[in-house]
């Protein structure tokens, strides 16, 4: 029984992180798949979302700005709004130029965001990061939540304590995973509606032939900025949930561009850019490959270590992550060259809006 519980909780955490990556991939799909905008700063937008959420919802702390203790949903929404505001500023500046420039600018903005998070130690606690971020569902077990409105209406402190002691400690894990999956599904249906709507078809037209779309009277720049903002908003939400999942965020390791930006790109391109189902499929697939390869490499290292005594395990373990990154990089090159359309190629919407 114990071992099944372990597998179950592992599956839940795979689903949780897979769902967060699926949200990031969906956000990138709006920018790249729909509008052809190259965003190389996914990590930056996720960081904005995560930090906004964390700073607004955590309890008061002597290390960083806080103590607002806003409801978690408000934190999520403000995370989205804030990511959207930053995207608007970048969009207004860079969207007129060709995709390469946008890529450079977004890499830059991700670095600047990281610099701000590192240097404004009074607000963000700098490189040491923010701790104890309230996690949806699990936060009910925290004292500051069950002694306040609305939870205090149902029971008093003692009652809640007794209740939480009576249920298993991991009770929130399936709820948290399901919440994220639900959000992915809602986002998916919203984006599917958008894709076949006049707006979505206009986006495709602009991506395929900008000049023709402009000649047909479409406001190319405005539409592109809209797509860029929408994608960033979804990424901000994903960042907020990433912060909840990790509970401890800091600027460098958490928002490492290779794990955030690059992996999301591989997911989208493997799944099929322009196809929302493909984005979700790619996210879960690559995430499963990525996390199961960790088990495989660890196993191989242990076998090697028992076979040869002279091998230093710590060095091998240290390097194994980079070997996996190398293979993910080669996988991207392979997909780009052989299957540029991905597993699920883009389906163009019918003219009448039926699909």
């Amino acid at each position: 029984m114990e071992i099944f519980l372990g597998y179950f909780l592992y599956a839940m955490s795979l689903l949780t992180v897979g769902g967060i990556y699926a949200l990031l991939a969906l956000g990138l799909n709006v920018q790249w798949g729909f509008a052809g905008l190259f965003n190389a700063g996914v990590a930056g937008f996720a960081a904005i979302g995560a930090y906004t959420y964390a700073l607004l919802t955590t309890a008061e702390s002597q290390f960083h700005f806080g103590g607002l203790e806003l409801p978690l949903v408000v934190g999520d929404i403000l995370a989205m709004i804030f990511a959207g505001i930053v995207a608007t500023i970048i969009g207004l500046i860079c969207i007129r130029l060709r995709a390469d420039y946008l890529a450079i600018a977004t890499i830059g903005i991700a670095e600047i965001i990281k610099l701000i998070l590192k240097n404004e130690t009074n607000i963000t606690n700098g490189p040491r990061g923010i701790n104890k971020i309230p996690r949806t569902w699990e936060h009910f077990t925290e004292e500051r939540f069950y002694t306040n409105f609305p939870m205090n209406l149902f029971s008093n402190q003692k009652g809640w304590e007794a209740f939480f002691a009576s249920i298993p400690k991991w009770w929130w894990q399936p709820f948290f995973a399901i919440t994220i999956i639900l959000i992915v599904i809602i986002t998916y249906f919203f984006l599917e509606k958008l894709r076949v709507s006049p707006w979505g078809r206009m986006m495709t037209a602009i991506r395929e032939n900008e000049k023709a779309a402009a000649a047909a009277g479409k406001n190319v720049t405005k539409r592109r900025i809209e797509a860029f903002i929408l994608g960033a908003v979804i990424m901000g939400l994903a960042g907020a949930f990433l912060g909840q999942h990790l509970r401890l965020i800091e600027p460098t390791q958490t928002f490492d561009p290779s794990k955030m930006t690059f992996l999301v790109w591989v997911m989208l391109i493997a799944g099929g850019s322009g196809n929302n189902k493909g984005a979700i499929l790619g996210a879960f697939l690559i995430w499963f490959v990525w996390s199961s390869s960790e088990l495989v490499t660890n196993g191989v290292i242990e076998i090697l270590a028992t076979m040869f005594d002279s091998i230093d395990i710590s060095i091998l373990k240290n390097r194994a992550g980079f070997i996996r990154m190398l293979f993910i990089g080669l996988l991207l090159q392979l997909i780009l060259q052989r299957y540029p359309k991905g597993i699920l190629p883009e389906k163009r919407p019918a003219i009448s809006g039926k699909y």
Partner: protein, 315 residues
């Protein structure tokens, strides 16, 4: 008059800025050449810099195990040859298949190459910082004594002198290459108009190879100079250089190698001088935000003059 202001300003802000500018300039040459000739932003350029500094370190280490104590600049010669081959191999296997596709495909491929090369270096040499040159760099005695006679003491460490001299030599050779040789003229022609260059009998594929040779060599030089300056190497040093190098290329104008040099010097000086206490006591911009200076310059250029100072291309 050599007041304390000038002493501090020149020695601790201007010369380091100039040295940093030289490193950016060398890196930006490769970026602006590939942007101008192959028409894409090469994100893997910084990683070629980084790899060549690791290779230099390795060559020096191997030589010392045979009892040879090499100066890093001599170790840089085989390393730069390896860097050129690396650039050519990457082009052949990862960029060439996309030559007729939309350019954004190569940008994605180069984005992937950035991670592949970095992971490879991390697998081979590990993720930790490595000391490149040991010890504290002392200012050159001769220059110090000589300038002290004129009441203006210049404190320039030997490493800075070799970086400045090395950059000037590379620039002169590069200038000769670009203005007087067939290859250089071909490069300029392809940069101006690839189709016209091809119909007028220039072998574009050869020009592309030459571009990688020149760009790879300059990147290797920049990487080794950077390692000489900071005295350590780490796997993220190339990525840290990427933004200032792009800023330099855009500031100078895409496809304008000497614009990139000017841009590199301006960005290097701006980054160092922004830390000078121009107003009051504290630095104008906190040193933590130094790398933001390059980015702001780049954004301002993109808003007000995307063609750069020297009228480069805008795609």
């Amino acid at each position: 008059m050599w007041e304390s202001f000038w002493f501090e300003f020149i020695n601790f802000y201007f010369i380091p800025g100039l040295v940093l500018g030289c490193i950016y300039a060398l890196g930006a040459i490769g970026i602006t050449l590939t942007f101008g000739i192959l028409r894409f932003a090469n994100f893997a350029h910084g990683e070629i810099m980084m790899t060549s500094s690791y290779l230099t370190w390795e060559f020096v280490l191997v030589a010392s195990s045979f009892g040879l104590i090499l100066h890093p600049i001599i170790g840089a010669i085989p390393a730069s040859i390896c860097a050129i081959f690396l650039a050519l191999i990457v082009d052949r296997f990862f960029y060439k298949p996309f030559r007729n596709s939309p350019t954004i495909m190569i940008v994605i491929a180069s984005f992937g190459m950035m991670l592949i090369i970095r992971s490879l270096v991390q697998v081979i040499w590990g993720p930790n910082q490595i000391t490149f040159v040991k010890g504290i760099a002392k200012p050159n005695h001769f220059i110090k004594d000589f300038t002290s006679n004129f009441d203006m003491m210049l404190l320039i460490p030997n490493k800075h002198i070799s970086i400045l001299l090395g950059t000037i030599i590379i620039m002169l050779v590069f200038n000769y290459l670009l203005s007087s040789t067939k290859i250089g003229k071909g490069m300029r022609a392809v940069s101006d108009n690839p189709n016209l260059a091809e119909v007028s009998g220039i072998n574009v594929e050869n020009i592309v190879k030459a571009t990688w040779v020149v760009g790879g060599f300059c990147a290797a030089a920049a990487g080794v100079f950077l390692a000489l300056d900071t005295q350590f190497i780490e796997s993220t040093m190339g990525f840290r250089m990427l933004l200032p190098m792009f800023a330099a290329a855009i500031l100078g104008g895409i496809g304008r190698p000497f614009g990139a040099v000017a841009g590199g010097l301006i960005i290097g000086l701006a980054e160092e001088l922004s830390a000078y206490p121009w107003l009051g006591n504290g630095p104008v911009i906190s040193p933590g935000y130094k790398s933001g200076v390059a980015f702001s310059i780049m954004v301002l250029m993109l808003i007000f003059r995307p063609s750069g100072l020297f009228r480069g291309k805008v795609f």
